[in-house]
């Protein structure tokens, strides 16, 4: 660097000042609207409560059965009852499995033995997606990961279901 003093010209000084003041005003103007717009991302996700699905644990067999129940959903200013569904059964280890009926391919609804061609499997009618009984997707069919599994707990002999959790891909 030369020893020459780096002079700031009048033009540069005015440019910096105007840009600074303009930027400050624009930021002051936009900060609240932007914070408001991104609020949904920053809101803590509501922890799903367990809901009594009206099924006694002793009635659960090894055959997957469709269970429907309703939860109260708060969507901004709109509150409503929405239906949820699960396929519930006991697996070989006598453990309760509650699988989400939402196909992991594109979100259609799967059914247990939904196709006569594929007994003992979950079947999705949209693109012939198939899953084994434990929810694992069958290689070569569209789904890329197993059916989601509901968190569950048992209270007073009744089954309670929480949020559906994703499981690792096959």
């Amino acid at each position: 660097m030369s020893e020459e003093k780096q002079q700031v010209s009048r033009r540069q000084f005015l440019n910096y000042t105007l840009t600074g003041v303009g930027g400050f005003m624009a930021a002051g103007l936009l900060i609240s609207p932007i914070r408001m717009a991104i609020d949904p991302v920053l809101k803590p996700s509501s922890v799903g409560d367990y809901a009594n699905v009206g099924l006694a644990v002793e009635d659960i067999t090894t055959e997957p059965t469709r269970v429907d129940w309703k939860i109260d959903q708060v969507d901004g200013w709109y509150e409503s009852e929405v239906s949820k569904a699960a396929w519930v059964f006991k697996n070989e280890d006598d453990e309760i499995m509650a699988l989400s009926p939402t196909c992991t391919h594109l979100g259609c609804v799967v059914s247990w033995e939904g196709s006569e061609k594929y007994p003992n499997e979950f079947f999705c009618p949209c693109h012939d997606g198939r899953y084994y009984k434990d929810g694992t997707n069958i290689e070569g069919t569209p789904p890329t990961r197993p059916l989601d599994r509901f968190e569950h707990k048992v209270e007073n002999g009744m089954l309670y279901l929480g949020n559906a959790q994703e499981r690792g891909g096959a």
């Binding site: 103007l29 936009l30 609240s32 609207p33 914070r35 408001m36 717009a37 609020d39 920053l42 901004g76 200013w77 709109y78």
Partner: protein, 224 residues
Amino acid sequence: MLQKIYDWIDERVDITPIWRDIADHEVPEHVNPAHHFSAFVYCFGGLTFFVVVIQILSGMFLTMYYVPDIENAWKSVYYLQTEVAHGQIVRGMHHWGASVVIVMLLLHTLRVFFQGAYKKPRELNWMVGVLLFFVMLGLGFTGYLLPWDNKAYFATQVGLEIAEQVPFIGEYLKTLLAGDAEIVGAQTLTRFFAIHVFFLPGALFALMAVHFILIRRQGISGPL
């Protein structure tokens, strides 16, 4: 970096003359507050524009939460006010800005009036300005209904009855505004929303463009 991007674009589409036309012009001494402090009166037009920009921005963001429906309008505004971070501030900007813009508009009009700046050759721009004033009043009137609370409802009731007083066409005018001959309700709210958010802003932009082009063509009126 920015300079490079600018140069890259400028080399291809030659944008420098465009922004020169927009931004590069001399401010006459008599409108520069640095020379005569009393020249601050020339700021009111620009301040009106600045507040309009605030109104447009805050309004755009408000429609992310607002629903123009009689079941949900009030609830969505209440949700915005109480549950959404900074929602109160953004609605506050729009609420208070609506009043400030009218104040600035009046001050700007008074300056033009008392300086006689509307005289030949600027009569046309005065007329465009008056139309802008009406559009702004229309925005205030239609926006007032949107929160769908008691104040909004009864203010609109009164406003519609004022419209009804117009000779001969009054009743039709009221029905046209309210969307129904008797009821101030669902159809009134959607109409007012459409007018507030699409029709009047469209008119506002067009008139503002004419207003500004005329100023640039005719220049600011000379010193008193």
